[in-house]
Symmetry: C2
């Protein structure tokens, strides 16, 4: 029979996975808005971002109550402490999707992404969404082996980010400073989004095994 | 007479202030390296960044032990939970100073900062260092009124950041794409550095009063 506390942990883990689903949707919509210069989609990402803010705040309040009332130790305490960090990471991931959406809104009806980098951003969006989906599964199942996969999958995003940097810095970049600046910020937002999934992977490994893997 | 647990809290608060001093030094040196294209100073920021990594990791381990052994409640629990977030913020602030130093190193012996934006970056460096110094005091004294000052002081950095953006986006920007991209990233690093001091201010208010102020 599951104890009451174990049920609470399961429920809190489910809430982290649900928050992660919000970041999947936010990133999918922000990337769609970016690739198609879709103002409505961009505004939707911005409009619903309060849901993730509220979920992160609720999570922390529940964790706080459980820490105060139940005084967990060992694995359960690692889960609570790790979960506080994970909740903050998920919150920030949602914020980064909003940053992407805001650039789309600021430049509308212009397209932010010129043809030269359309493929890179298509792939960045796909990688970010896939990485967030995998993070959701890792949070749902709290499987340290699967979490380890999050740590290496991030290399693809780093390669894409470096490639993007090289394109805008090339002598023959034809789109001027404004486009290059937008693209630089967008690249940074995608990269940071994935960095947070790596952090979550490290935290899940820690909370299940007690050992925090080295930073990339 | 102070209890043993209160002594532990004081010691942990002192450690957060000490970590904050490391971020003050890192930001002062990174800004000096940037303004003077000083490679040695940039490399020093990068070389010593492991100290902050280690301090953040030690802090979390101590907090974890205290949570497990002492099961604190109310104010003391808020301090531990808030401190976990603050430690992560300080760690990230050090990482942002390292990012600035790495841009200086990548471009050396070129100056990253052209004359047009030298004054803005001089002010951004000064604001970031001052804000980190004030954060150290807030952590040392855990004074919620003083913490509230951190929340508004950040407006100066936001103004500088907007001004920087306007300069590189102007039609007559003479330094090309590469310089504009570097400046965009640097501006973002300074802004994020100060965002974390605001987060720390909010956390200190919460841990002393039990009420978390709204996000700016």
């Amino acid at each position: 029979m599951r104890t009451r506390f174990a049920e609470n942990i399961d429920s809190l883990a489910g809430d982290l996975a649900a928050m992660c689903r919000l970041t999947v949707t936010a990133m999918r919509e922000a990337s769609g808005a970016l690739l198609q210069a879709d103002l409505g989609l961009a505004e939707h990402v911005i409009d619903v971002s309060g849901e993730l803010d509220a979920a992160a705040s609720r999570w922390e309040q529940r964790a706080f109550s459980l820490l105060a009332l139940q005084a967990p130790v060992a694995h359960d305490l690692r889960f609570m402490v790790g979960g506080l960090h994970i909740s903050a990471d998920l919150h920030r991931m949602g914020g980064l999707a909003v940053h992407i959406a805001k650039i789309v809104r600021r430049r509308h009806p212009e397209h932010v992404v010129p043809d030269e980098v359309l493929e890179v951003f298509t792939r960045m969006g796909a990688v970010a969404v896939a990485q967030a989906e995998e993070t959701e599964q890792v949070l749902q199942h709290r499987d340290p082996e699967r979490a380890r996969g999050l740590l290496t999958a991030d290399d693809t995003m780093d390669d894409l980010h470096r490639g993007l940097f090289a394109i805008t810095q090339a002598e023959d970049w034809p789109h001027g400073v404004k486009a290059a600046v937008d693209i630089t910020l967008l690249g940074r937002f995608y990269e940071r989004f994935c960095d947070h999934t790596v952090e979550i992977g490290r935290r899940v490994i820690f909370l299940e095994t007690g050992v925090l893997p080295d930073q990339g």
